[in-house]
């Protein structure tokens, strides 16, 4: 079973600071990590390989420094990593990103399964996985929480939906985006780290892929960020003092009136 896992390197978000002027994140000094939700896809991929054999290839589109994320995934147990990098890819939205990634995947040879995280913790759209499936014209299941059965031709999965679970039998090749219930990501081993350091990471760029230049990067992105704004949080408390029996009764009346006005009772 050949599995391809597109991952994203994101800023580690526990200590993020925002630039008050521009409304964007201050990236200086912020550590980059594998998108935490991609780790579940990586773990699932490695587990499927351990059971069914085959190969797991991780790929990421990003600056050259993103190869650190690929090596981390290889240290966990993935076999290969491919870095998709080019200045022309910069500023891509989910449409251009999924186009570029799908073209890269076409260049990686035959595959049975593409696994992706539910969404990235920075952009938070959840569109790139489904976008890749559309460009590749393969079936898609989102929010996959469990893999039930794998055969040579099909994969049966449980998908988290609002009312419960939906069980889908999908023909291969297919693309799944997974939620955290699907696996417990393992830690990379020291042996894995050493192997990852020695692994050669091929680079895909506009030079060795046949791409439609008009669909790349900022230029090829239909999404335009017009303005970034902070939502206004207006929270005002009201103190009601309740001294003595009369005061308590008045306070209760006031509270009831408030709740009625807000249609809460």
């Amino acid at each position: 079973m050949n599995i391809i896992i597109p991952i994203k390197q994101v800023p580690e978000t526990s200590n993020v600071k925002m630039d008050k002027e521009t409304g964007t994140m201050i990236r200086d000094g912020v550590e980059s990590v594998i998108n935490p939700l991609d780790l579940y896809a990586i773990e699932l991929g490695i587990q499927l390989k351990e059971i069914h054999g085959g190969k797991v290839t991780v790929c990421t589109m990003g600056p050259p420094s993103a190869q650190k994320a690929l090596r981390e995934a290889i240290a966990m147990g993935c076999d290969d990593g491919i870095l998709i990098t080019d200045r022309k890819f910069a500023g891509a939205d989910t449409w251009a990103t999924s186009y570029t990634l799908s073209e890269a995947i076409k260049n990686m040879g035959s595959f049975d399964l593409v696994l992706a995280g539910e969404r990235a913790t920075d952009g938070d759209t959840g569109q790139v996985g489904p976008g890749i499936a559309a460009w590749l014209n393969i079936p898609l299941a989102t929010y996959v929480s469990h893999v039930d059965e794998v055969t040579n031709t099909h994969i049966t999965v449980e998908r988290l939906v609002e009312e419960g679970y939906q069980i889908l039998k999908m023909p291969l090749p297919t693309l799944l985006t997974v939620v955290k219930e699907v696996s417990d990501p393992r830690l990379p081993t020291l042996r894995g780290k050493k192997k990852a350091r020695a692994t050669e990471i091929p680079v895909f760029s506009t030079e060795n892929m046949n791409l439609n230049e008009g669909s790349l990067g900022l230029k090829g992105s239909p999404t335009k960020v017009v303005k970034i704004d902070y939502p206004k949080v207006t929270r005002g408390g009201k103190m009601v003092s309740a001294n003595g029996e009369e005061g308590i009764n008045a306070a209760i009346d006031e509270l009831i009136k408030f709740l009625e006005e807000k249609e809460l009772i």
Partner: protein, 471 residues
């Protein structure tokens, strides 16, 4: 020792000093100040009044009042202590430093910081991180504990192998003595032998020799690179045997933490985390930090290889925030997790010379078997400081537990002493261990300690009933 009760007149006088908002005596509010992280049932005691002063002068006035009226005072930080040190055993006045949390100075030139002692330890580092500075005091309760409590207990933690314990970073302090005088000890000096080093006497004195209101702390450069190893072993012995091997190589990790399988399992279940503990008997968590990422990686790898050559089953690497936080939170939450699953227990804090820690593990097994109790063990193996925890067997009655607990503890302490160790490395003697101190300490040393206490606190009002009894 006979103390006088806190009368209405005394409460009125306290209100006059502090204002009505900073003096309270209703039971519900005071309950939170009646215990620390030791068992409230066993050690807890209600104060008669709680005060929350904001200035050193206010504290001095309260201490003078306490001397005049012969009322005990118990100073209190965040209440996260593990020896009962902040419990008002004789009632009286509970003095919380929670409102004294101002940062007074960040001195980049001297790489020092002057703070009030009611600040949460973690906040210190949050404040100076952007300046490339770092305060290396690191108790495991860093998100809740106060600097003042760290000084009182000379707190250690998970980075002490490389950085040492709190005392190393306390350069100066402002102290309200047990008689109510205000004195500055030490200062921004790297060297100082002008008389006895009284500030270091205060460090670790468990609030019995005065109340530290301000502290001058030493800062270091912020380590920018950090890597962790989670090393799995077949059994605790293999893991512990490896510790002196690593230490003797001259590679200085920031910390070497030991966790046996039961500790890891309990914490993982508490946190809903899944570390691969199923097939191992114990783990070491080893941290390396520095300012050169390549060097840190190289040292981490050398230590990992050394572990593999000395009995480890597997070595996992955590070199980014996500994975590091995963494994450290398991380590940090062990004590809390055990409190939830087995509330009847005795969390110990023995410390032995590093080279002798392999000898302690078979002794723990022996005591565990003899008394038919579990003794999960975790702690700062790189410092020889282990938190062996005696846990009541659920099949035993409470009467039986009360009978065997002191016996098992005595045996543990005797073994510790025989190995050249002491009964507390970082939690303190406080209330919890004071009955055992005289059995494991030289009587001359104990008498010297008592003489110091009597000289500093003639009326014996400052945190009485802790470390030792004077009678």
């Amino acid at each position: 020792m006979r103390y006088n009760p806190v009368t209405k007149k005394i409460v009125d006088e306290l209100v006059e000093i502090l204002g009505p908002k900073n003096v309270f005596s209703d039971q519900e509010k005071m309950e939170a100040y009646s215990h620390d992280e030791t068992s409230a049932e066993e050690y807890g005691h209600m104060p008669e009044v709680v005060v929350t002063p904001s200035t050193t002068e206010e504290i001095a006035k309260i201490v003078k009042l306490a001397n005049r009226e012969l009322i005990p005072i118990t100073p209190r930080g965040a209440g996260s202590g593990l020896s009962g040190g902040a419990i008002p055993t004789f009632g009286g006045i509970l003095l919380s430093i929670e409102k004294m949390n101002k940062v007074l100075e960040i001195d980049d030139g001297n790489m020092m910081m002057v703070l009030e002692t009611g600040i949460v330890t973690n906040e210190v580092n949050a404040l100076i991180k952007d300046r490339g500075l770092f305060y290396a005091g690191y108790p495991m309760s860093l998100e809740t504990c106060f600097l003042g409590g760290n000084i009182a207990e000379n707190a250690g933690g998970g980075k002490a192998v490389k950085y040492g314990v709190t005392g190393r970073y306390i350069m100066g302090m402002e102290l309200v003595t047990p008689t109510g005088e205000i004195v500055e000890l030490g200062g921004k000096l790297s060297k100082d032998v002008s008389g006895y080093d009284l500030k270091q006497l205060i460090v670790g004195s468990e609030g019995t020799l005065g109340i530290v209101t301000k502290a001058t702390i030493k800062l270091t450069g912020l380590p920018t690179a950090k890597s962790n190893l989670l090393v799995l072993y077949k059994n605790p012995k293999d893991a512990i045997d490896c510790v002196p091997v690593i230490m003797a190589k001259g590679l200085i990790p920031t910390g070497i933490e030991f966790m046996d399988k039961l500790s890891v399992k309990t914490s993982c279940e508490y946190l809903n985390e899944s570390l691969p503990y199923q097939d191992c008997g114990a783990m070491l968590l080893i941290e390396v930090d520095g300012t050169n990422a390549e060097q840190v990686e190289k040292d981490t790898e050398s230590i990992g290889d050394l572990c593999m050559d000395n009995g480890a089953i597997e070595v996992y690497v955590a070199d980014n925030y996500t994975t590091q936080e995963r494994i450290w939170s398991v380590r940090r939450n062990i004590a809390e997790a055990f409190k939830v699953v087995s509330p009847v227990q005795s969390l110990e804090d023995i410390v032995v010379p590093i080279a002798t820690i392999p000898d302690i593990i078979p002794e723990l097994d022996r005591i565990s078997e003899k008394y038919d109790i579990k003794i999960p063990c975790y702690g700062h193996a790189g410092d020889g400081n282990l938190h062996a925890t005696l846990v009541k067997n659920p099949n035993h009655t409470m009467e039986h537990w009360h009978e065997i607990e002191p016996k098992a503890l005595r045996e543990l302490y005797e073994v510790t002493k025989k190995l050249g160790g002491k009964i507390s490395g970082e939690h303190g003697i406080g209330l919890k261990r004071k009955n055992y101190l005289k059995e494991v300490i030289n009587p001359v040393e104990l008498n010297l300690m008592k003489a110091i206490k009597k000289a500093w606190d003639p009326n014996h009002i400052m945190n009485p009933g802790k470390i030792f009894d004077l009678e």
